[in-house]
Symmetry: C3
Subunit: 282 residues, 3 copies
Amino acid sequence: MLEQCSKNIEKLRNKCPLTHCITNYVTINDCANVVLAIGGSPAMANEAPEIEEFVEAAGVTIINMGTLLEDQIEPMQIAACHTKKTNTPLVLDPVAVGVSKLRNDITIDLINKSSVDVIRGNMSEIKAIANLFNITDEKSVAKGVDVSSDDIITKDNIKSNASLVKAVADKLNTTIAVSGAIDIISDGVSIYLIDNGEEVMSKITGSGCMLTCVIGSFCAITSPLEAAIIGSLSMAISGELARRKMEINNEGSGSFRTYLIDMMYNMNDETIMKYGKLYKLE
Amino acid sequence: MLEQCSKNIEKLRNKCPLTHCITNYVTINDCANVVLAIGGSPAMANEAPEIEEFVEAAGVTIINMGTLLEDQIEPMQIAACHTKKTNTPLVLDPVAVGVSKLRNDITIDLINKSSVDVIRGNMSEIKAIANLFNITDEKSVAKGVDVSSDDIITKDNIKSNASLVKAVADKLNTTIAVSGAIDIISDGVSIYLIDNGEEVMSKITGSGCMLTCVIGSFCAITSPLEAAIIGSLSMAISGELARRKMEINNEGSGSFRTYLIDMMYNMNDETIMKYGKLYKLE
Amino acid sequence: MLEQCSKNIEKLRNKCPLTHCITNYVTINDCANVVLAIGGSPAMANEAPEIEEFVEAAGVTIINMGTLLEDQIEPMQIAACHTKKTNTPLVLDPVAVGVSKLRNDITIDLINKSSVDVIRGNMSEIKAIANLFNITDEKSVAKGVDVSSDDIITKDNIKSNASLVKAVADKLNTTIAVSGAIDIISDGVSIYLIDNGEEVMSKITGSGCMLTCVIGSFCAITSPLEAAIIGSLSMAISGELARRKMEINNEGSGSFRTYLIDMMYNMNDETIMKYGKLYKLE
């Protein structure tokens, strides 16, 4: 699976799919740059009157719920419906779902309206979705956009978390990609783990948003499961290499952020094969 | 005071307070990254329907008036009221107050509605506030977001400027932090000066906005006066170290910006004690 | 012409004109930073109630159509009218015109309402404008914000493209600056080419938006034709030097982006004279 997934990088760079991102304005610049670095062509259009035209032109649409100003919600709803109608791959990043009623309502609405291919979130967000769709009774206690300390994925809780992720993927008929110290990816049938996580990734804003867009680009050229795996591997390995360089140079999170994009720009199948720690759990 | 303030950095990193920023979308990404670098947990939520929930969850709320689109003003007003009601620390950055009627009206409204803990601005902005609240007759002549050349703080005008800053802090019952070549900080009783300013700080966008958010994070764990001092010291010293590295490497403002975040990421009490030039004027 | 244009850099740094940018929030931070790096003073005000005040205070106004949310369109229209009324230089970046009906309608409206000094775009966008104003029948087929592969400027199509650019400039009584592998600039009388293009420029977001703002800053201190030439030369040469450094250091697009700003920060007339490849075609 590692080798099979790694082939998608060259394929992406050759096809350079139009990657349509409806995303928050906190990290929108980072998202555009990382899509360019990995080989996609980003279009950050989120104006209601032109959403349908962009969905039709794009190889994939990504909805990131980071900011939910009134005029950002309607475009998300239009995109959710129109990707389903046009059979365009859709990736959803339900940022901070579980933290406010507004976010819960919109998450449910977007999932119900669409046929979402991949949902990418941290463990708190996926637990919140499990809760909203009655898949678990366990409550998540996240307060902001970051994962709650109770929900951090560790060797001890990996099995129960992985089972929940699989159950959500199965129930919603989608692929779930959870990023964390260990990434969990499931299409409702198989479960894969990626053990290349770096703590410093949580010390820059947008690492999650960027990952979602990268997975999105890959969705335009391969299956949701492969897209989630190769997207997560690319970002995690880039993070690992960037952290090493940062430490060798005695630098900090500013340089790390620059190197992360550098590593994505230079990512290829060899690097994936050399550093990727992909395990099949089920 | 220098030593006492410097202890707050470790405290901040341990507590990692949720730092709720309602801020402009020009520098919002920089603001989130600098809060992460110094040890806070940023939440950039500015949607009216969820402002109260975020104020309640956060250790501090920051209002930056950089962009004032219609749907950004209401959230600021809600936050101003709700921080007062819930006794949540509030930090205000009245960007470009004095430049347009809109900005003057909103500044007055937000100050009147709230119980603001720290106001952070450049000397032109603080003079404009002094004018709006009838503390001085002197007019500021700033045209944009940058300090007017007439208002740049120098050794010659430092005393009169410091007196005005103290008078504003006293009248509005708050702490004022003025950033410039020399920083002036007053809680209406004491006046402190910081002499670590770097000119290149004005050659990147967002240095002021970032400082405001950093002061905000510190407000969640210490007094407004200490927060203003340690926040200003951290940023000013990081700027000094980043400028040195930029010059040694023969680089420019792009690298400076990256190094500034690096230095904040590595900031600690020892560096504050070694480089901090803090003086008590009164 | 190369020497004459190169003198404008020092002039810009001395005058430091207020550069008023109404621009998209994808690359707004990059735009502010590049204006600061080259020597202008950016003001990113785009709130309808204060647009007229900023147009009056500024040395130039720039309208970038990258994002067209409802509350961003009215400020553009106000600025288009008010720059004409106050004789303030206006630079337009018609991002993705030709891709959606919304963008076509707004482009026509803004050009008709104003007296635009420079239009900066890629070849697909300029072809779309030529089409909208009945200057050509040739259709552009761009799908996103990037130039269509059919419209990339090469040695083979440079003459026909240059003729079209000149015709558009003549018809609209403006200066057109087309950026690409080879830049084409025409005021409707002369045609200039710049052969310093770098492919990696298209691997970061915002290189076009930044160029537009830089040309804008120069418009505040010199003629539209000279502004378009020196702005394009500065960015293209900075891109060339940044790419070299990136390759020597074995880095990627993240570092390239940082170095691009560094090079703009250090740009001067000597560097322009040494590296500038400016040719007069007609």
